[in-house]
């Protein structure tokens, strides 16, 4: 067992546990966008930041990728964390203002203004779909291309790819797409299948991704 300090409490977790897992186990809420319990952590969305180390020498790390270490001091809701997280959410809101997930997140964390220029990106490049495809489907049909600001998610050579098994997992797992219909099972989501028939990624990827034909998500919506 590893003993460490979580928000001033002495806690113990198994070796190899991430700080995020530990915090959630102890009932502390940490927001995430790129995390999924079934997939490898990636640390891309930066929302799960926590402060570690002695005050004065502390730094922020993503709790989803950081292992619990003996004697570590972890603060999940320090002023520094909260302030930084708010700016990050504000930046998300400016980048993908139409995503319901991000709107919800902003409301939950009291982000009331957006001082950055608004863009209308659909994808936040969290990489969940890629990890789903690689790790769950062993598909490797989609991946990141380019780097820096040019980074995108697509299929090889932006073309329909034979390795894709049309499982629809990438659309299912996408956090930015959740503004669209979740199907009738999803109690909290509003079924807007009639308004928004195709997930935004379809427009975005064009021929490369229109394998969902007919689209799983939309079909489910119609059935409902």
């Amino acid at each position: 067992m590893i003993n460490f300090m979580l928000n001033g409490l002495d806690v113990a977790v198994e070796k190899g546990t991430t700080l995020l897992e530990a915090a959630r186990f102890y009932g502390i809420e940490i927001p995430t966008l790129c995390h999924n319990e079934g997939l490898s952590p990636y640390g891309a969305c930066r929302l799960c930041l926590v402060e570690i180390g002695e005050p004065g020498k502390s730094r922020l790390v993503t709790s989803c990728t950081y292992p619990a270490q003996e004697g570590l001091q972890v603060r999940t809701h320090s002023e520094r964390v909260v302030k930084t997280r708010k700016v990050i959410i504000e930046l998300y809101l400016a980048t993908c203002p139409s995503s319901k997930t991000i709107q919800d997140l902003a409301s939950r964390y009291h982000v009331t203004r957006v001082r950055f220029r608004r863009k209308h990106d659909d994808c936040i490049l969290c990489g969940l779909c890629i990890r789903y495809c690689n790790e769950q489907m062993q598909g490797k049909a989609i991946g990141f291309v380019n780097r820096g600001v040019e980074r995108r998610i697509t299929t090889p050579f932006n073309r329909k790819f034979e390795e894709c098994r049309l499982c629809g997992g990438c659309i299912y797992i996408c956090p930015a797409c959740q503004a669209r219909c979740q199907g009738p099972q999803e109690g909290s989501g509003v079924c807007n299948a009639c308004l928004n028939l195709s997930p935004p990624c379809l427009d975005h990827f064009g021929d490369a991704m229109c394998y969902m034909d007919p689209c799983v998500a939309c079909e489910q919506g119609r059935k409902g």
Binding site: S40, P41, T65, A141, I142, G143, N146, P156, F157, E163
Partner: protein, 187 residues
């Protein structure tokens, strides 16, 4: 436990071919041979060497030195390192780009010239730097670019010089001043 281990596994995955060559090295070989990475070759290699095409495509687009488009026969590189920047490399790059009618990272339509801007060639004492087919030219200024190309093209094959003249001529038709500029150079 599981999650971190999983991450390490993903992080540790080697992109290597069956005979142990790294994917980056393999792509470098392909690029050396074809001067770019042709799609068919990559597809074939993915099959033959047991690599994922997606991984190949990710790596090929991540690194700057790989090109998925054919490159020109003559490679012109402008350095945009800090030392070059403070000595005015931005204007030099712009002028080269205008002269050749090629944007940085692009290739002229006739496939003769490729223009690349590189973040530092490590010859900062000569800033700003322009490299034409591997030959370094230091202390460049925007005004000296035209003279440099004239001189360089004399050294290159006759055909290329003609093609350069053709580029200039076409530009003259398009109303660009390069031809006039070069005519001025000659006078």
């Amino acid at each position: 436990m599981a999650l971190l281990e999983k991450q390490m596994q993903v992080d540790q995955e080697n992109f290597t071919t069956r005979n142990g060559q790294s994917l980056v090295a393999l792509l470098q070989e392909v690029q050396e041979q074809y001067n770019y990475l042709p799609e068919e070759v990559l597809r074939e290699l993915a099959c033959a060497r047991g690599l994922s095409l997606m991984e190949m495509y990710s790596v090929a687009t991540f690194y700057k030195s790989f090109s998925l488009q054919p490159r020109g026969r003559h490679k012109i590189v402008t350095c945009t390192g800090t030392a070059c920047h403070v000595r005015g490399s931005e204007k030099v790059t712009e002028e080269v780009s205008r002269m050749l009618g090629v944007k940085p990272g692009g290739t002229s339509e006739d496939g003769e010239y490729s223009l690349e801007s590189v973040n530092c060639l490590g010859a900062c004492a000569l800033a700003p730097l322009v490299v034409v087919d591997g030959e370094y030219h230091g202390n460049m200024t925007a005004a000296r670019v035209a003279a440099l190309f004239r001189e360089q093209l004399k050294k290159m094959k006759g055909q290329s010089a003609e093609s350069f003249d053709k580029v200039i001529e076409e530009k003259a038709i398009a109303g660009c001043s390069c031809a006039r500029l070069l005519a001025g150079e000659k006078n």
